[in-house]
């Protein structure tokens, strides 16, 4: 069929020309490693959408060239000139044949576009779930992400670890998407399109990352004051890395007697109302699980590098980084802050 021919012969020249046109400004200053472009896919859903988008760009680009060209021609050819006589041009009221033609052609284009699109919708949305798939339950909160791995007994926050997949032995990750409060949306452009997390309305999303590494994204549905700082980080691990990560996450929190003072602060200053540290009395679920806090690269949903200084400042006054965040400043003394930071820093 003709569009399949178009599809197959779509070539690097077209893509390069288009990307150069669109993203020239970006690449002029050097490619950014952390740019989550939809044109650099690393997982089947994103790749298929990428291919479809080139096809749609070809068609719409063609329409633009034809119609835009006609407009430019008309502007130049039929502009009024000083040499014109005073008579009005010939009045033409319409033409059924011509009008029929420019009704039928768009109809045909719509049919082609629709059939291609429909095929893709069903292919991505109704893809059968393989037995080897990893299940993750993602719960969005104002303004952070909770990840639960029911089969592995792991609870993590803000940084999702998934195994690398490949075409021979696919190991996709299937996410059940829930929300604890308002609407959110899960969007890591290089891995898949976005899917909303809506309270009382579970959704599903799958990815099968083909390249190891870190992929970033962020919440894509306005969810309140700190919607902008609800960042997503997806770590695609090699099988060994992933197994090691899971093994560590399955442990209870480290119990280090040298930071008992900090732990007392944690358990007496209402921290544990919202946060959990497995193996202790702290089982709160309003905030991120802190059992393996120090295994994460970032704090506060991806906005801060995870180090002692940031951690202390964050606990002291979350609003200094994230005004409107739901974590209150607990008015701790400097000593308490030091002790608490020391305790949390042992939670590897």
């Amino acid at each position: 069929m003709p569009w399949q021919w178009l599809w197959k012969t779509r070539n690097a020249i077209f893509a390069a020309a288009l990307l150069a046109f669109c993203c020239g400004i970006v690449f002029a200053q050097g490619p950014q490693a952390a740019t989550p472009s939809i044109f650099t896919p690393a997982s089947t859903p994103a790749t298929e959408i990428n291919n479809l988008s080139y096809f749609v760009l070809e068609i719409t680009g063609g329409i633009f060239l034809v119609v835009g060209g006609l407009l430019v021609y008309v502007i130049i050819r039929y502009r009024a000139r000083d040499t014109d006589d005073n008579r009005e041009p010939a009045q033409i009221y319409g033409s059924n044949q011509v009008e029929l033609a420019w009704t039928v052609i768009p109809v045909l284009i719509v049919v082609v576009l629709f059939l291609t699109t429909a095929r893709m919708i069903f292919a991505i949305q109704d893809a059968p779930k393989p037995k080897a798939a990893l299940d993750v339950t993602t719960v969005a909160h104002q303004f952070w992400w909770e990840y639960r791995y029911p089969a592995l007994g792991v609870v993590a926050a803000n940084e999702l670890h998934v195994p690398l997949s490949n075409t021979q032995d696919p190991k996709p990750t299937y996410m059940k998407l829930l929300s604890a409060d308002v609407d959110h949306s899960y969007w890591v452009p290089q891995l898949s399109g976005k899917v909303d997390l809506i309270p009382n309305h579970p959704n599903e999303l799958w990815i099968d990352p083909m390249r190891a590494g870190l992929y970033v994204g962020q919440c894509a549905q306005f969810c309140g004051a700190q919607h902008a700082k609800m960042l997503l980080r997806v770590y695609v691990d090699t099988p060994d890395q992933f197994a090691a990560w899971v093994k560590n996450q399955q442990q209870d929190g480290v119990q280090d007697p040298s930071v008992a003072a900090g732990r007392r602060v944690f358990e007496t200053q209402a921290c544990m109302n919202c946060h959990a540290v497995r193996g202790t009395a702290a089982t709160g679920r309003f905030g991120p699980d802190l059992t393996h806090l120090m295994s994460r690269d970032t704090l506060a949903s991806g906005i801060l590098h995870n180090n002692k200084e940031n951690l202390r400042q964050w606990i002291k006054n979350p609003d200094s980084f994230k005004p409107g965040s739901l974590m209150p400043a607990m008015q701790l003394s400097d000593d308490q802050l030091d002790q608490l930071t020391a305790y949390l820093s042992t939670l590897k």
């Binding site: 740019t35 939809i38 959408i49 893709m120 069903f122």
Partner: protein
């Protein structure tokens, strides 16, 4: 024979032979400010109300423009602290709400008010007092919305304005997540202004159907009037669902109802459906008037009759009907079934067919013409180009899988600003340059007009062409700031610079209006050598519009008058 004589555009109407209504001597007495104010506030004249609508719209255009500039300053560099997140969220909510309801809706109904009676040869709207009521109710709604800046938290707290996005998705609007009264102001203000809008819509339909002058059959109505009949009909069935949804929201917030309370079995998705059942046709409510302006300006400046009148009417009605069945293309990411996604992909793409017909018909109208590029035509040419582009990005967004990437990204923001600014605001500017002489008797300055046009168009393209790219690079909408390492910084800076250029252009436009109103070139009755009835009366028209009721025989009565040897009615089926 008496009423088949046409008032001569070249001679003052009062000098006609049928001057029974024209015996009042011209009122040369100087009026006091209070008298003038009184006459405007108590007026039921469609022309004065039309001008009030326009002034009201322009005022809020400047307000919303200022909010947009503040938003763009905040986003110009990553991790900026120009606006706090709370203020940013209020500004983008108010910017969107203002532009759609207080600028878009009022300006289109300003055009309708001023022009529909004139174009059909009537002396006023069908219900003049309802007309005044509608304007003042709408105006009150706008003031109520902005009063929320002061009153949102009541007298005891600091003021705040709605901060839930102009789409106000549940359950963010629930009492638990939006305490205070900002959200109530949003809902009540829009319900109130919605009453006014519905009143005007009823009025426009009744005027066009019941007040036409003799000989103006439906298929001889100017396309402008046709489009506004369609727009008003569409308004009647789109504003009301929003009112219904907002009543439900208020039941939830004030009476403890559970419509959108997800804790009690309510559905957040139901709000999305209700909102977009309003929200998508609303886009066509706003864009069809832009088509209406194009349908008048493009033929006159191309010196040709509109190509395919009947097809244009059919396409407009077609767009209105199809637009009622496409709303869920705003919801491809909420987890609908694959069959629903496919259905809404198809219905959305179908809109492209009648809109395509329109673009082709405009091109065919220009084809073979002698196009005079005065400022109105410059704007309308840019309108055709920009509308074409926004239609094509619309096709991209209709492709559901690609929409999963593009939805709620800056690509979408760029797309709908292309429609709202590139098509609608651009056409409205063109329309103002075209009809300002009729409404005031003076031409807008052509030199300033060209400055306005070029600065605005260049600024527009700098802003909104570039704005597509951060969306493709993963930048979502509604964020008050972004990380430095994402590579969106330079692009956003460029977008912001373009925004400032557009702001300057709009200020030039405001200056042009003020200067031209005082000392612009005298317009005469028919400065553009046009063909519809509004140009047959004086500029500005007298209170009664036409000294004698006109009688028409074709779609272009003034063409027939100017070309008795070759009148239109010989060719019209």
């Amino acid at each position: 024979m008496a009423d088949s004589t046409f008032p001569n555009p070249a001679v003052p109407i009062a000098g006609g032979a049928h001057g029974a209504l024209d015996v009042t001597p011209p009122d040369v007495r100087k009026h006091s400010v209070l008298e003038i104010l009184h006459s405007w506030i108590t007026t039921v004249d469609h022309k004065k109300l039309g001008i009030l609508y326009m002034l009201y719209g322009i005022f809020f255009l400047l307000v919303a423009g200022a909010e947009a500039i503040a938003i763009r300053i905040q986003l110009a560099v990553p991790n900026n602290h120009f606006l706090s997140p709370q203020v940013y969220n209020r500004f983008f909510t108010m910017h969107g709400t203002t532009m759609v309801f207080l600028v878009g809706m009022t300006m289109i109904f300003g055009f309708a008010n001023y022009l529909v009676p004139l174009m059909i040869g009537a002396r006023d709207m069908a219900f003049p007092r309802l007309n005044a009521f509608s304007f003042w109710v709408t105006a009150f709604g706008g003031l109520l919305l902005y009063y929320s800046f002061l009153g949102g938290s009541g007298l005891y707290g600091v003021g705040n304005a709605p901060d839930v996005g102009w789409f106000a998705y549940a359950p963010l609007t629930a009492r638990a997540f939006s305490p205070g009264h900002a959200t109530d102001y949003w809902a009540i203000a829009l319900i109130v202004s919605g009453f006014g809008t519905v009143g005007t819509a009823i009025n426009v339909v009744a005027t066009a159907l019941c007040m036409r002058c003799k000989g103006m059959t439906l298929m001889r109505m100017p396309l402008f009037v046709w489009l506004f009949v369609v727009v008003s009909g569409l308004t009647l069935v789109t504003i009301t669902p929003l009112t219904a949804a907002q009543i439900m929201l208020l039941v939830d917030r004030y009476l403890g109802g559970h419509f959108f309370d997800t804790q009690a079995g309510g559905s957040a998705v139901a709000w999305m459906h209700f909102f977009w059942i309003f929200g998508h046709p609303e886009v066509y409510v706003l864009v069809l008037p832009a088509f209406a302006i194009a349908n008048e300006v493009i033929p006159v400046f191309s010196r040709k009759a509109i190509f395919g009148y009947a097809a244009m009417v059919a396409a407009s009605v077609g767009i209105a009907f199809v637009s009622l069945g496409v709303w869920a293309h705003h919801m491809f990411t909420v987890g609908m079934t694959s069959a629903s996604n496919a259905f809404f992909t198809l219905s959305t793409m179908l809109v492209g067919i009648p809109t395509g017909i329109k673009i082709f018909n405009w091109l065919a109208t220009m084809w073979g013409g002698r196009i005079r590029f005065a400022t109105p035509m410059l704007f309308l040419t840019a309108f055709v180009f920009q509308f074409l582009l926004s239609g094509l990005t619309g096709i991209m967004l209709a492709v559901a899988p690609w929409n999963w990437q593009l939805h709620n990204s800056y690509f979408v923001i760029a797309h709908f600003h292309y429609v709202l600014v590139g098509a609608i605001v651009t056409a409205i500017f063109g329309g103002i340059y075209y009809w300002f002489p009729k409404a005031t008797g003076r031409m807008l300055n052509e030199r300033l007009g060209k400055w306005h046009f070029w600065l605005f168009t260049i600024g527009f393209h700098i802003t909104f062409d570039v704005m597509h790219i951060p969306g493709l690079l993963g930048m979502p909408r509604s964020i008050y700031t972004y990380e430095a390492d994402r590579g969106w910084g330079t692009l956003n800076m460029i977008v912001s610079i373009g925004g400032v250029i557009q702001g300057i252009a709009v200020l030039i436009f405001a200056y042009n209006m003020i200067v031209s109103l005082r000392s612009g070139e005298k317009a005469g009755n028919d400065p553009w050598d046009a063909w519809t009835l509004e140009w047959a009366t004086s500029s500005p028209p007298p209170d009664y519009n036409f000294a004698t009721d006109p009688v028409v025989s074709s779609r272009r009565p003034l063409w027939d008058l100017k070309h008795p040897e070759d009148p239109d009615w010989k060719y019209e089926a």
